[in-house]
């Protein structure tokens, strides 16, 4: 592929801008920081767009284009884009996996996932105002060893869930340990 002077961009969070340097003299990155699934419409106005151009002129052009599509636009180097991509794996992919594990725990008891949906939404809504480090709640933060022990007993026949529970509980305790 060689496009001479035509603008080409890639849309990946984790790929360096330089992969395009042999494809055109005018290249960049246009990365939408959002999770997309079939059967789910997303309002593009609320999607953070991370752009990077091979020159300040290309960056300006991409910023202008992005601003027409979204209210949240930011210029990021490839290095910072990698950081935000890793952060997104934690904040979105791993988070959804936590939801999936709760879905499984509820299904095992014939409990409707609908019961926990308001909690999931409030947990996300809360950090739209507060910072997550301040928003933490639960037995691990409180070092509530009695409740943690009951949860471990409850999970004793599900070794994968138990190991994750114990690992994450330990990490939360460490994270909030006074220095």
């Amino acid at each position: 592929l060689y496009l001479q002077n035509e603008l080409i961009v890639h849309t990946s969070g984790s790929i360096h801008i330089n992969v395009l340097e042999t494809a055109s003299t005018v290249y960049g990155v246009f990365y939408p920081l959002q999770t997309f699934s079939k059967n789910r419409e997303v309002n593009f106005k609320d999607v953070t767009l991370c752009v990077e151009g091979c020159t300040p002129e290309v960056t300006a052009k991409l910023l202008s284009l992005a601003s027409q599509l979204s209210g949240k636009v930011v210029e990021l180097t490839s290095e910072k884009r990698m950081a935000i991509h890793v952060a997104a794996v934690f904040a979105c992919n791993f988070t959804n996996f936590m939801y999936a594990l709760s879905q499984k725990l509820l299904a095992d008891q014939n409990l409707d996932f609908e019961l926990i949906r308001p909690l999931i939404l409030e947990t996300a809504a809360k950090v739209q105002e507060l910072m997550p480090v301040e928003a933490q709640t639960g037995p691990a933060l409180r070092k509530d060893v009695i409740t943690i022990k009951e949860h471990q007993d409850f999970l004793k026949n599900q070794p994968n869930l138990l190991r994750l529970y114990e690992e994450l509980t330990k990490e939360i305790v460490n994270f909030y340990k006074p220095l």
Copy 2:
């Protein structure tokens, strides 16, 4: 404490109803399945209320009271309440910890947490319609080993984050492995 015939309830997710049997002849559980923090108002109408009474009459009374406060009311035994409490640790406490780790990753690069807030909200909004097992996205689900390797390289100087990343990636791959 002994209240004779006065109704007493506890509000805990993980404590059995029986702890109150010596406190009154009329006892139960009134557990709001929600996360509460200072500096954050919650609309009680959207809070799932899980109730349990020591007799069908007490349960009926608690269901009636709960229905005046919230649109989501459910009767749960102490055993099922424990299951939902563990599910809530995954869906709320561990989820918020994933947000906190993303906050740290962004702060390390002087990136504004505001950039990732729309992704967090959409991740939660998505599972208000879809089921989490269907909503999963990301490199672990795709078994995108190139991206996973880049993320591991990025995290190589943060052993705790790296270990969690690898553990959760492995669990997602296992969870979605065809039988």
